[in-house]
Amino acid sequence: MIWSIAWKNVWRKKLRSSLVITSVTLGLFGGVYSFALMLGMVNQRVSSLIDNEISHIQVHNPKYIENSEIKHTINDINKLVSSLEKEKEIKAFSKKTKIFAMANVSSKSNGIVLYGIDIESEKKVTAIHRNIKDSAGTYFEKKMRNPAVIGEKLAKNLKLTYYILTNKTISKLEDLKLAENSIDSLKTLVDIKFRIENKFIDAIKNKLSDENFIKHKFYIVKNSINYKIGSKIIVTTQDINGDLTGGAFKLAGIYKTSNSMFDQTSVFVRNKDLRKVTGTIKTDFHELSIILNNIENSKLVANKLQKQFPELEIETWGEIQPELAVTNEYMAVYYYVFLGIILFSLGFGIINTMLMVVLERVKEIGMLMSIGMNKLKVFLMIMLESVFLSIIGGVIGMIFSGFMIWQTSKAGLNFTEMFGEGFEAIGYSAKIYPEISLNYYFGTVILVVITGIIAAIYPAIKALKLNPAEAIRTDM
């Protein structure tokens, strides 16, 4: 009965209650959705790091970790490999040479990490081969001598790119409803080759209004970029004896991950080609990356291997990038702090409403207390009304957020044009797939209920302080 009275009381002032409910709904939506974006972003970063860069488990010679010299290779690699092959939990592994080098193209140079890989095993372990850009070569598929696959950022740094505006790109802009005179002035740039990105951008800027430039710049640049596939890249490094050596590789493909730092430094070549440059032998490897059937077992498998091979350094992804391993916990803490702040402010709205409720109903509450409703029940009645207000808003807010998250998680939200470069410079993808797990839903609902309860306390105490005789006498 108390529950039903409280529920019905919520709807006595429909407009006022709807406003409170709407504010809770919107507040939660704002909080939950923006958190889902952030969680999506962070989780994408984690999986991108694991997929492209670190895998689940890595094996090194401990000396290599301290001092990444070419001579610190993994001892007795064959014994390790035969052990790994027996381990059912291991899905794939890839042995590689990993050395520091300098890449030069004409006058440009860039420090790099050179990976000598076995293409087939590497494909099973990392996702780089899936991240080769369109019309940016292949992942070692075309026959050429000494092929190298490099990141987009490095390609730009080494000026292995050039820009040509094509009619095809312009016709797409026509579809995007760019004004005719702008199209015409852009057409004067068609088929002109620009070697430098900034010069190309400046040229476009001159042809377009500021507004159109900002709007279409990203699209035009993206579609005008070309790579000098087949160009020579000179690599200088140390050989196995510590002497300076070098070799020429040819640009075979360009990949792009969401981490431009990685893209700028990681260069992949075939191990057999690299061996010729460095003088390493077939059993010389610096790094062995492992992918498991289930990432959850990383610790288990790593421990097991570590026992078998005490002389090697065997690390899980969480040990290699400790900040990633605690990200999930951080995110949960972050979420609840964030939500707490939102609910704290919403709580004031509820307190305000409930105070009005109590003031409006002084006579009624006095009557209820007179006829025998005890304090606990009066308290409960007011608290339930407040909880109902908050929980209705909470449930609608969560359903709405859930719906929007689900809607946008399919295609993802593309922020590339707004701040793609900024995001990628710190390793985050600019295309975000919002996500949230069910745990957060339960936690949120509980917090919303607690907010309703806390918000009711002060108004309810006010109600309890009423003296029935006085309350009934009150003029309203």
Binding site: M367, M373, A469, I472
Partner: protein, 225 residues
């Protein structure tokens, strides 16, 4: 049998400027089955006295025994339960919970008492029929006239099977027709069911119906006929 006995009741409202001595030493008792009116000019202390009789307010001095229980000795939570089980209240207005129907309003107090659904159902329709609202069980207060609302309040007051019903100016907001209907119903319940009614009023027609008329002036009992 005496249902109420009050001895030397005083009530002083402590105000900042002057203390208001609203009740100045009233001794009275009520028997079961009485139909008594408390009259007196405005400000004479009727409401104050009724509130004290009903345990809604505490006297500054004196003793009230209801069914032999000294309610001055009850703790506030016990007093609330005592009111629920022993006293029926009808106020001048705001008697009903607006979001509940007539039936639910009457049922509410039995709910508080923890009575079974079966008992509630039968008693509620019995009472609402007795006050002539057997056909308005599911109407909300806002859909009832003032007189009908007061009749629901009477039914509600009786639902808890109290020892007596206190009504402070129950007809003050009613037109003469509704006043008569309400009074007739109260009178009938008093005669047929032996329900004790104590009510205050300004209205001469209401006073006429009373079998006992207690007059208070300036916080003192001036006549009791």
């Amino acid at each position: 049998m005496k249902v109420i006995e009050v001895k030397n009741i005083h009530k002083i409202y402590k105000e900042t400027e002057v203390d208001v001595h609203a009740v100045r030493g009233i001794d009275l008792s009520f028997e079961e089955g009485e139909f008594a009116a408390i009259v007196g000019p405005s400000g004479s202390g009727k409401t104050t006295f009724l509130n004290i009789l009903g345990g809604l307010d505490t006297p500054s001095d004196g003793e009230i025994k209801i069914g032999g229980v000294d309610i001055g000795k009850l703790k506030s939570s016990a007093l609330i339960d005592f009111r629920m089980n022993n006293i029926g209240f009808v106020f001048q207005a705001y008697n009903l919970i607006p979001v509940l129907t007539a039936k639910e309003n009457v049922e509410f107090i039995m709910h508080l008492q923890g009575r079974s659904k079966k008992e509630r159902d039968s008693r509620v329709s019995e009472l609402l029929t007795a006050v002539g609202l057997g056909d308005r069980l599911n109407s909300r207060p806002s859909k009832l006239s003032g007189g009908q609302q007061q009749r629901v309040a009477v039914a509600r007051a009786l639902a808890s099977k109290p020892k007596f019903v206190l009504a402070d100016e129950p007809t003050a907001n009613l037109d003469s027709k509704s006043t008569e209907t309400l009074l007739n119903i109260m009178e009938k319940l008093n005669k047929e069911e032996n329900i004790t009614f104590i009510f205050s009023t300004h209205d001469a027609r209401v006073v006429k119906k009373a079998r006992r008329v207690i007059t208070i002036e300036d916080g003192k009992l001036v006549s009791d006929i």
